[in-house]
Assembly symmetry: C2
Homo-oligomer: 165 residues x 2
């Protein structure tokens, strides 16, 4: 982590878990955005004691800059439950412009029409370009546009943030 900003991903994860626990509904389902959000959703599934596995979703197919980015994350979407009428929590590591979330919601709609979609993230870094907001964010801060914040996972499963200028 460079600069004076220090984001402890493990500590933020515990805050996110604590924030989700009281509002978790019996029929709620987790969908993690690849790759950081999918790691988080996997951890949340265990820590919330959910029997239904978390879904994994890729924004690649619906991104508005698809032509430039291509299938950087492999375009893998796996949804092990019915999306039609589902109560979903989309999980991501960082909320920035909102374009990924828009793409992911459109990807979800390829599978069905969810009854409700909420969004939980570790960090809301500001800089929104679409009117999308997280229902739950463990941290809200403002980062310059030239900084790239992303979640990393060590071989032992420990989560850390990397900030590159």
């Amino acid at each position: 982590m460079s600069g004076s900003l220090s984001l402890d991903a493990e500590s933020l994860y515990r805050d996110l878990l604590r924030a989700l626990q009281p509002q978790w509904g019996a029929n709620d389902r987790l969908v993690g955005i690849t790759s950081g959000g999918a790691w988080l959703a996997e951890r949340l599934q265990a820590d919330l004691g959910l029997s239904v596995p978390a879904g994994v979703i890729s924004s690649a197919m619906h991104r508005d800059d698809f032509a430039r980015r291509g299938l950087a994350d492999g375009g893998v979407t796996r949804l092990p439950f019915d999306i039609e009428g589902a109560h979903l929590w989309i999980i991501d590591d960082v909320l920035y412009t909102g374009r990924t979330v828009r793409a992911v919601i459109n990807e979800l709609y390829d599978y069905g029409r969810p009854a409700r979609v909420r969004l939980a993230v570790l960090v809301d870094r500001g800089g929104r370009e679409l009117p999308i907001q997280a229902d739950c964010a463990a941290a809200r801060l403002s980062l310059p546009a030239d900084q790239k914040l992303s979640l990393q996972r060590d071989p032992d499963g420990r989560l850390t943030f990397s900030l590159r200028g």
Copy 2:
């Protein structure tokens, strides 16, 4: 207006105008959602002194309940400026589930990729089913799901809210 709730649409419109004025950028463009949002955008164009006409957008083609609702509002979209790279304010009378806004953003993307889309509404009535939020709302309140709130325009142009149970 039935019940004890009283929403003065004209007074809320003035609040919305006052809230938008200080954050209005020289290159910002208005897009009103049919029909209430389009009435508001028309008024805002005049009151903000904009030379570029407001666009009008319909959510009908991209609504996830298109099969049930059909082209209730005629499906008219008229965008008298380039959407590619544009800084847009979507205007609507009432923000509720967020499904209309999702549909409208997808409709916009049929015309180009805007640089930024913000959302301004007269009333945010709660009840969100998608992680969409207004950047600017003249009133925020909570209404039961069985109440339908919609903007009406008199022949003389005066705006009023109707609330039906």
